[in-house]
Symmetry: C2
Subunit: 216 residues, 2 copies
């Protein structure tokens, strides 16, 4: 039975998983890209984004690589899929990632607005789920066929799954920056009370990695 996981999710030291004022130009919010300095330089990222064989193979890369291992389905919020709010005006928006998105699995997009599934190159199909997080998780489990489910984000989606007790494991990447405002990942969420403890930690010059898992 697969786990429900959050992987490679970057957070600022003051707790923000995205900066303020998200927009088409700043999908991660103002200064949000600074959260991901640990990731951009890695071989995994470079390979995913046309950098060929470039990129470093360090501890950051090992975590980046692992974050795609054994994933059978993804779940993400609508804002992670695109900048459009409200009803879909048409079917033109096909995600931030071009015709071959880096998922290569079914991806369940949480939205209040129905839309037909969208089949992309490379094995990614976006399914739009309008009946809530538990329904999306059930669909993802069926699709994953025993592999893990990765809850990709954004912050609000992870918070909802956490508070509902539906996450088994989180790999968080603390970046040495302070955003000051934006979307706070854990504000008001008591991780020890939810049963989580740190089972793994690692440090690089760009990040502190921690893996939290539920005590069974």
């Amino acid at each position: 039975m697969g786990k429900v996981k959050v992987c490679a999710f970057a957070v600022s030291l003051d707790g923000f998983g995205a900066g303020p004022s998200q927009s088409l130009e700043n999908p991660l919010g103002v200064r949000g890209t600074e959260l991901h300095n640990w990731f951009f330089k890695t071989k995994t990222f470079q390979k995913m984004h046309g950098g060929g064989d470039g990129g470093v193979e360090d501890v950051d890369n090992a975590f980046a690589e692992r974050s795609f291992d054994n994933i059978g389905a993804w779940i993400m919020g609508r804002n992670m899929f695109g900048p459009i709010r409200g009803h879909w005006p048409n079917n033109k928006w096909r995600g931030w990632w071009g015709e071959n998105p880096p998922y290569h699995t079914p991806v369940f997009v949480l939205t209040h607005h129905k839309r037909e599934p969208l089949e992309m190159d490379g094995g990614t199909t976006f399914y739009f789920v309008t009946d809530g997080i538990e329904s999306a998780l059930k669909k993802a489990k069926d699709a994953a066929k025993g592999k893990d489910i990765r809850v990709g984000g954004g912050v609000q989606v992870i918070r909802e799954y956490l508070k509902a007790g539906l996450i088994d494991e989180l790999h968080l990447v603390y970046s040495p920056i302070f955003l000051g405002s934006g979307e706070n990942l854990l504000s008001g969420i008591d991780m020890p009370k939810l049963g989580f403890s740190v089972i793994e930690k690692a440090y690089t010059k760009d990040a502190m990695h921690v893996v939290l898992s539920k005590n069974k």
Copy 2:
């Protein structure tokens, strides 16, 4: 002119500078001591607490040592001085640290309740300040004679000085633990907006050190 500094202040990854339920037995709150694992092993800590010449001399120790450099006066909250709340029943409580506290400077203790100064061994004198944080800072500056002022804590005292714009520099030590509740250091405080940016960072197996300073 000396700086007003917070040094070697440990914070959990979910933002807490002390655990919940502080008491005589748990002056740092439940699990609060885990925040300081980076510090206990250091030569600086061992020397201060009777460990002789033991302790490691690593990056953590270098930061610990620096945190006592060039300090001319300390400011701390009453809860950092002791567990007594309300009026002083008598003068018996002389701090957590025995007859020779690790300060060796004047220490200004913020309280609502008057008490005579308390002279200890080794150059530490505790002065009890009842007319607010700005008055305490003025007294500390006079006493420090051009050296730096260290605002020791606890969390609420640092928050008050931060929000009043009176801190020049902070060295925070992020420990890879999640406390879940307790006293949150930066909740609702926008460090970039206050003018702070990260000017130094370092990583050890027990902590991520960051130094924030005001852009001048």
